[in-house]
C-alpha cells in the first residue's frame, strides 16, 4: 500500500510542482501586482489598493477594446461552429447516397486537407499573409474585386475604422474553422451510418438531417468547441496585433492588446496586471456560463 502511494506520488509531484511554479504562481502574482503602481523596471513599487481598477473603470480605451471582445464573443463561436458543422457534414455525409451507403461529397479527402491548412500556419504567418491580402493596391482581395469590375468596393480595408475590426474577425474565423471541421468530422465518424440511412429512407432533407440528427449527436463536441472559441474570442491578441495593431483609431483594439501595450509600451505593469485580472474573471465567467447554458442530460432525437 505504502509502495503504491509512493509510486503515485513520484509521478504526481513533479507535474504539480511545475504547474504550481509556472501557472498558478504567476496568476497569484498578477493579483498582487494589480494592486501596485509597479513600472516593471525596478524592484521598487508602492501599493495603491484598488486605484488601478478604478482607473480601468474610467478608461475609455479599455471599454472600447472590451466592446470588440464582446462582439467577438457573440459572433466568433456561432459563425465558426455553423461553418464548421456545415463543411464537416458536407465532407462526411453530404454526398449523394448510393448502394454503398452515405458518404461525403466528391473530393472530400482533398477538402479536409485544404480546410485544415490554416491550422498548420503559425498565427504570425496568418497575420502577415492577410495584412498583404487586404493591402489596398497590391492585395489579392482588391485585386479580385477590381477584376470582377467592382472597383467601388475596393476600399482600404484596414485603413477604415468601419471595416478594420470585421476584417480581423473574418481572418479569425478563417484560421479557426478548419480545426473544427476536422473535430466535427471526426466526431461524425462515430455516428452509426444506419441512422443516416434511416433518415434518408424517411425522406429527410440534408438540412433536416443536419439539424435533427447530426447536431444533437455532436452536442458534446460542439459544447467543447464553444468554450474554446469563446476563450479565443476573449483573447484575439496575436492576430490583432499583427494585422492592425488595434488601429485605425483603436477601431480594432482588443483587451489583450491593451494589456500588452500598458505593460511593454507604457511601462505600467501594475495597470496591465489589473487588466489581466479583469480578463481572468471575465474568461472564467464566460466559460462557466457557456458550460451551464449548453448542459444537457440526455440526447433527444
Amino acid at each position: 500500500m505504502r509502495g503504491t502511494r509512493l509510486f503515485i506520488a513520484v509521478f504526481l509531484i513533479p507535474p504539480l510542482l511545475l504547474y504550481g511554479i509556472f501557472v498558478v504562481s504567476p496568476y497569484a502574482q498578477a493579483f498582487q501586482i494589480a494592486g501596485t503602481d509597479w513600472s516593471g523596471l525596478s524592484p521598487t513599487y508602492d501599493f495603491v489598493g484598488l486605484d488601478n481598477f478604478r482607473r480601468l473603470a474610467e478608461d475609455g480605451y479599455f471599454w472600447n477594446a472590451l466592446r470588440h471582445n464582446a462582439w467577438l464573443l457573440l459572433l466568433l463561436p456561432v459563425v465558426t461552429i455553423l461553418l464548421g458543422l456545415f463543411l464537416a457534414s458536407m465532407i462526411s455525409v453530404g454526398g449523394r447516397a448510393d448502394r454503398a451507403g452515405v458518404h461525403g461529397v466528391r473530393g472530400s479527402a482533398f477538402y479536409r486537407v485544404v480546410y485544415f491548412f490554416p491550422q498548420v500556419l503559425s498565427v504570425a504567418i496568418v497575420g502577415v499573409l492577410w495584412k498583404e491580402m487586404y493591402a489596398p493596391h497590391t492585395g489579392m482581395i482588391n485585386g479580385f474585386l477590381r477584376a470582377a469590375g467592382l472597383d467601388g468596393l475596393a476600399v482600404a480595408w484596414l485603413g477604415d475604422p468601419r471595416f478594420s475590426f470585421w476584417c480581423v474577425m473574418a481572418v479569425m474565423i478563417w484560421m479557426n474553422v478548419g480545426f473544427y471541421v476536422v473535430l466535427f468530422s471526426a466526431a461524425m465518424q462515430s455516428i452509426p451510418r444506419d441512422l443516416y440511412e434511416a433518415a434518408l429512407l424517411d425522406g429527410a432533407s440534408r438540412l433536416t438531417t443536419l439539424v435533427r440528427l447530426t447536431v444533437p449527436l455532436l452536442w458534446d463536441t460542439i459544447q467543447v468547441a464553444w468554450v474554446y472559441l469563446a476563450i479565443i474570442a476573449i483573447d484575439g491578441f496575436a492576430i490583432v496585433q499583427i494585422i492592425t495593431d488595434g488601429g485605425p483609431s483603436s477601431s480594432s483594439d482588443v483587451v489583450g492588446l491593451r494589456l500588452y501595450k500598458a505593460a511593454f509600451a507604457d511601462g505600467q505593469f501594475g495597470y496591465a496586471s489589473a487588466i489581466g485580472v479583469a480578463m481572468f474573471f471575465l474568461t472564467l465567467t464566460v466559460a462557466a456560463m457557456f458550460l451551464r447554458v449548453t448542459r444537457r442530460d440526455r440526447v433527444e432525437l
Binding site: 502574482q29 501596485t36 513600472s39 516593471g40 489596398p136 507604457d266 489581466g276
Partner: protein, 466 residues
C-alpha cells in the same frame, strides 16, 4: 497550431506579464547589489575601465542589423584585450531585458530601440540609466584635446537629456523631410517647391500627369504628423515646439500648428493623397512610392536603407525640407527636423558601467562612426564622420540638407518624453485627419485633449524642456 497559441496568449494575458519572469519565484523582487567595476584612470583610460571586467552588449537587431556592433566590440577588445565581451542581439528589447532590469542584473550597454523599445519615461523615472555626462566631458578617442561633447552634431545632447541629465546616446543621425525621386522630377521638369502655395500648385500638375502627388502610411499616420510639426515649428519658431514638449495648455492649438495642419489637410481635401494609402503600412506606401505611383512621401533618412531591395537603380531619391508656409516664417526654408535615433543606454545597475561608457566612446570615434556609416548606410551623430565615404544618393542628399541648413535643424522631444502620446494618440488623430474623417481644427483639439490627459496623469513622469 493557431488555437493553442492564442490560448497561451490568453494565459499570459490573465497572468499579467509575471509569467515571463517567474524563474526567480518572484517577478517583482530583485537583488539590489551594485558592484561597479572600476580601474585606474590614465590618459589612455580616462574613464577608468577595469581592464579585465567583462562587458555585455545587447543590440536591437532591426534595420541596422548587428554586424556594425561586432566591429565596435572588436575595437573595444583591441583597447582592452583582457575584457571578455558578451554580445547578443534581439528584436524584443523590452520583453528580453525587462526582467533583467527588475532583477538588478541589466547588461552594460543596451541599444534600446525598435518597436518594443523599453519606455524611456519608465527607465528614467526609475533611475535605471547611468548619467552619460562623464562621457561627454571625456577626451575623444581620436584627439585627447577634444571632448566627446564637441564631436557630436547639434541636438544630440538635447534629445538624450532628461531634466538636464544626458542619459541616452542617439547614435544614428536622422534627418526628416519630404522625399522625392530626382529622376522623376527631372524627367517631368518639376522642381521641389519652396513654399506651400507652390506645393499645392505642383500637386495639381503631378495629379494631371497621372501620378498621385503624395502617399503615406495610413496605418502609421504619425509619419504625416512630422511635416505638420516641422512646418509649424518653422512658421512659429522653436517656442511652439517647446510648448508641445512641455505639455503646455493649448500648445497644439497655437496658430502655427493650426495653419500647418490646415495646409496638410488641404492635400486630403484636394485629393492629392494616393487613394487607398489610409490602409497601407510604411513598407507598403514607401514601396508604392518607389514604384513611381506617388511623387512625395514623408520619412526619415533611414528610408534609403529600408527601401534598398525595391528601389530602381536610377531612382535617385532625395530629401527636402518642408515648404515654408508663409513668407514671414520664423525659420528659413532650409530648416528641417534633424535628430538622433537608435538610442544607446548604459544601465546604472550594470556590472561594468565604466566599460559601458568606454564602449560608447569607442562607438563615437571617427573609425567607429565611419564603419557604422559604411555598414548600414546611415549617418551617425559624430560630426563629419561620413567624409570620404561613398554614400548612396539618398544619404548624399541628407548631407546636403545638413550643410544647407547651417545649424538651423531642430526637433521636438515630446515623442521621446511621452512615447504613447505620439505612437497612439497623434498617430490615431493623423489617420483620421488624412482620411478626412476630422478637420484640421478637430485634429488640434483631439491631440490637445490627449496632451492634457497626459499632463494630468500622475502616473506619467513629466519632463521640462528648457
Amino acid at each position: 497550431m493557431g488555437h493553442t497559441i492564442s490560448r497561451r496568449g490568453l494565459l499570459q494575458g490573465a497572468a499579467g506579464v509575471a509569467a515571463a519572469s517567474t524563474l526567480a519565484g518572484c517577478a517583482m523582487g530583485g537583488d539590489d547589489a551594485e558592484d561597479d567595476a572600476k580601474g585606474e584612470t590614465s590618459a589612455s583610460n580616462p574613464l577608468g575601465v577595469k581592464e579585465d571586467a567583462p562587458l555585455e552588449v545587447v543590440i536591437f537587431n532591426g534595420g541596422f542589423g548587428e554586424e556594425y556592433a561586432k566591429a565596435h566590440e572588436a575595437m573595444y577588445r583591441q583597447r582592452h584585450p583582457q575584457a571578455e565581451i558578451k554580445h547578443s542581439a534581439t528584436q524584443q528589447i523590452a520583453e528580453t531585458l525587462q526582467p533583467r532590469f527588475v532583477a538588478g542584473d541589466p547588461p552594460d550597454v543596451v541599444n534600446n530601440s525598435g518597436g518594443s523599445q523599453i519606455d524611456f519615461n519608465g527607465l528614467v523615472s526609475q533611475g535605471a540609466l547611468a548619467d552619460l555626462g562623464e562621457l561627454l566631458d571625456a577626451p575623444s578617442l581620436d584627439d585627447p584635446d577634444t571632448k566627446v561633447r564637441d564631436t557630436l552634431l547639434p541636438g544630440i545632447v538635447d534629445v538624450g537629456s532628461y531634466d538636464g541629465k544626458f542619459l541616452s546616446l542617439n547614435y544614428a543621425y536622422s534627418a526628416y523631410g519630404i522625399w522625392y525621386s530626382q529622376k522623376l522630377f527631372e524627367a517631368k521638369g518639376w522642381a521641389y517647391p519652396r513654399t506651400w502655395d507652390d506645393m499645392i500648385a505642383l500637386c495639381k500638375q503631378i495629379k494631371a500627369a497621372g501620378i498621385a502627388p503624395w502617399t503615406y502610411p495610413g496605418k502609421h499616420a504619425r509619419y504625416m504628423s512630422w511635416p505638420i510639426l516641422a512646418a509649424a515649428g518653422k512658421m512659429g519658431g522653436l517656442d511652439v515646439i517647446k510648448a508641445i514638449d512641455n505639455l503646455e495648455p493649448n500648445a497644439w492649438k497655437h496658430d502655427a500648428v493650426k495653419a500647418a495642419a490646415e495646409a496638410y489637410y488641404q492635400l486630403a481635401v484636394d485629393g492629392y493623397l494616393q487613394p487607398g494609402a489610409e490602409g497601407m503600412d510604411h513598407v507598403q506606401s514607401q514601396t508604392e512610392w518607389c514604384r513611381g505611383k506617388a511623387a512625395f512621401v514623408s520619412c526619415g533618412s533611414w528610408l534609403e536603407n529600408e527601401q534598398k531591395a525595391v528601389t530602381p537603380p536610377d531612382f535617385r531619391m532625395a530629401v527636402a525640407p518642408t515648404p515654408s508656409l508663409t513668407t514671414s516664417d520664423k525659420m528659413p526654408y532650409e530648416a528641417f527636423r534633424g535628430t538622433g535615433s537608435e538610442p544607446f543606454v548604459v544601465p546604472s545597475k550594470g556590472k561594468n558601467v565604466r566599460g559601458g561608457l568606454e564602449y560608447l566612446r569607442v562607438m563615437l570615434s571617427r573609425q567607429g562612426a565611419a564603419d557604422f556609416t559604411r555598414k548600414v548606410s546611415s549617418l551617425t551623430c559624430v560630426r563629419g564622420s561620413s567624409e570620404g565615404i561613398d554614400l548612396g544618393p539618398g544619404l548624399t542628399s541628407v548631407t546636403g540638407l545638413i550643410d544647407a541648413s547651417k545649424g538651423t535643424a531642430f526637433t521636438w522631444l515630446y515623442s521621446s518624453y511621452y512615447r504613447k502620446l505620439e505612437r497612439e494618440r497623434v498617430d490615431a488623430a493623423s489617420a483620421e485627419l488624412y482620411a478626412k474623417r476630422i478637420t484640421a481644427a478637430q485634429w488640434c483639439d483631439k491631440i490637445q485633449k490627449s496632451a492634457d490627459e497626459f499632463a494630468q496623469d500622475p502616473a506619467i513622469k513629466k519632463y521640462k524642456r528648457a
